[in-house]
Symmetry: D2
Subunit: 263 residues, 4 copies
């Protein structure tokens, strides 16, 4: 029986199928952003009983994974910004990682992130077992200039802010006895600022991580690092830090020259 | 301070950055193949002391993950073929998963596969902890006809066969005291069939999984399934089976009409 | 002054800009169709007083150009179908013209077609000078199977039929004194078959070229050719013929095996 | 017979073929360059007895066509640079012509250029009839910054310079009785500057158009224009001018702010 198989093999002329492979390269000298998003995280967060509207453990696990990505893909990935179940990874403009092949870059980032997420789950959710496999999808986008890249980051942080205001109102309404449907209807087209006040939510006292998302980058300035819990064991990203700060205004770039200004 | 942030937000006009997003769709009515490969698995297999040339536990873990992919992405993924640290997933011709967007398809598959790999690691490597995160990269390729798709699968199975012959010789030489360098040189351009004989390797008695790789598909015929160990708990892919068979010759398609012949 | 220029040149390091060039290749083993369309032909046909709804001279000039394309790009272009100011060129499935680079194929076809159109204008419009330069745009589309390719051709011929019915009614109404606006409104959502009868247009007696468009292909059967006027001088496409026939039904493929059935 | 055709048409369901059409858009906010090249111009220039190494009539015809392109595609095309049988057209960074669809942009430019080339041929080659249709191919390339765009232009002008030095030597050798083969061999790897001297070619006295190519742009400064012969009749590009100048150094951009510095 195997004899037949072996003979067949000598007659196979199938190398030609390689000519169908085609992984387009991302435009040189542009800023590559890989953004990943949780797949079916609505269901995943319910199954694993995430605290609403923000689960600190889940966000810190996301941050840990992002820090690991900066460690693994150094010096190519220079900055990351995360909120909820999404994370954006910024590559330095001159990167030539995988010859800038789109599929390879996106899949390697998303796979590594996922791998760390599962491996480190129990460090952040001590009492909870993973009930089904969490996964993420990803995409690469190129931006031709630093200004547009910064507008991209602003867009994500504005989204964080608006979603967080909305979710704070929504879950407060639910906690007050409204059904999800009722809460949704009551917020349709609402002035969120006003509703926060009416619902007596002291928005500014919420943790800044919830309000401004998380920015991850290399601590090049050498300043003293308070290592986060769970982080100390990971050699490769020892100098990667997480901050929760305004990345829309000019201050961030002024205080951290070399992150988004370098090549 | 936050006041400034909130005011800024009202002035941000950054939605325009969305126009840079661009995820090309894979050609309709073609057969999509997503092939994933282990990243740095040479090192990963050394760190985790994989048996050489084939580690049964590692291969079975790969197979388990592939089965889970068929379960998760049903009815879109209809067949998978795996060897070593690579796996190819075949989508049915008419799939419209994620509107056939390339990045989304590749990243979702590779992330889910990775997630299962880490979650189930300990079921297959009972005595071994994961020392660093395993990851995979992926790519999508389209084939315009069933014939070319079958040639693709033949190409992978021929590769399995040749690599396995080579690796069997290589590791036998190493076990006989040669250095890796010497073993490599000694096999340069060699007639593998002949070397197997000289090295007294009874190739045909090696497990068929090593020689022919693993084919994963739905057991539509309803025949009785001996569930593999580790598999029983997974509801979603209860009827997905692994076989180690010749997929180059016509027999496989004849015995399993509807897998690669359906739409 | 030039000295400066020459010195500068020695210092220019600009070859790197080549890495931005990127001409994706059309998928191998698919059927390539290049469809060209007149740019601003509404205005062009008015300026040059085309007979409405169909100008025989203009159509014959289009056909001549298409024949020249088959002559110039033999054996790659095997069939063409034209109607109004558009023409579709079908490449044989196995073509490797310009390594299947999309821009190169489209631009070369559209430029050659345009060139012949201008050169031969006076042969078809004897009394009329070209008042401004006619031009065409083009695109390439790939079809993975012969069946879909034939559906593409059907789509174009159905379009020809419907547009011609509409235009016959429209211009009849205009000739009866309606303004273009009134004619348009009167035909909105109309049953064209019925309106043709009401307007006493003997549709079936219109020239078949108007009703079924023009099909251009190589006369491989060696049957006697009545050369069209204006055609005799062109050596390169001596055996290319134009027919006005039904290409939707099976008859065309049955009568001309080897055109759309070959590789 | 037609009855059958008409009945068929009602049954045709072929609109779905539209889903195969796919014209990728060029990245927003980048500089688009469309470069066109003569197809088979080696043969074309021989058939039409172009003067070697530079035919002034042919170059001026190319320039006229480029000027017409700027007139036709205003305000999108802002600059063009030509040498020999190639021309590069620069679009302003913010152009949204044809929604930046690559095939449409390339094919429309190349077709219009070709059309003018044929129409105006006799104005430049008074004694010569066109013997076969001239045609061009084209491609679009995007550059993410003005600096890289300027490097692109430098690259083309350096090419012009080197090719012109080479061709000047080559044709001098031929005029001295060498065969083309001998001339070619004698110039392999040669220091062109030195060979020009040895061959007593007074390179600097050659027309500047031969040495520096042709730059085409809008005369926004309103300075007095000496209209070139053949140009006066063309209303649409009355204020488009051709200059033969150094575009590598900073002077051009300094003297013409707003061409490559505007949006």
């Amino acid at each position: 029986e195997l004899g037949g198989f072996v003979e067949e093999i000598d007659n196979v002329k199938s190398e030609y199928v390689k000519c169908f492979e085609f992984d387009p390269k991302l435009m040189p000298f542009t800023w590559i952003v890989v953004r990943i998003d949780g797949c079916h995280f609505h269901k995943f967060s319910e199954t694993h009983e995430f605290v609403k509207p923000n689960d600190e453990r889940a966000l810190k696990l996301m941050n840990f994974c992002a820090m690991a990505v900066l460690g693994e893909f150094q010096p190519d990935v220079v900055f990351a910004y995360g909120v909820s179940d999404e994370y954006s990874f910024i590559f330095k403009q001159s990167t030539n990682l995988y010859q800038r092949k789109a599929s390879k870059i996106v899949s390697a980032i998303v796979s590594f992130f996922t791998s760390v997420y599962v491996m480190k789950w129990r460090d952040f959710f001590r009492e909870k077992e993973l009930k089904h496999p969490p996964s993420f999808d990803g995409r690469a986008v190129c931006y031709p200039s630093r200004e547009i890249l910064c507008d991209y980051l602003s867009w994500r942080q504005v989204d964080c802010h608006i979603n967080n205001q909305y979710n704070s109102c929504f879950w407060k309404l639910v906690s007050l006895g409204k059904s999800k449907k009722e809460a949704q209807n009551s917020l349709k087209g609402a002035q969120l600022q006003k509703r926060l006040e009416e619902l007596e939510i002291d928005y500014n006292s919420l943790p800044v991580m919830f309000r401004q998302g998380s920015s991850v980058f290399w601590n090049k300035e050498g300043k003293f690092l308070k290592h986060q819990e769970n982080e100390e064991s990971c050699e490769s990203h020892r100098n990667v830090i997480v901050e929760h700060c305004d990345i829309i205004g000019p201050r961030f770039r002024l205080e951290h020259p070399g992150i988004l200004d370098g090549k």
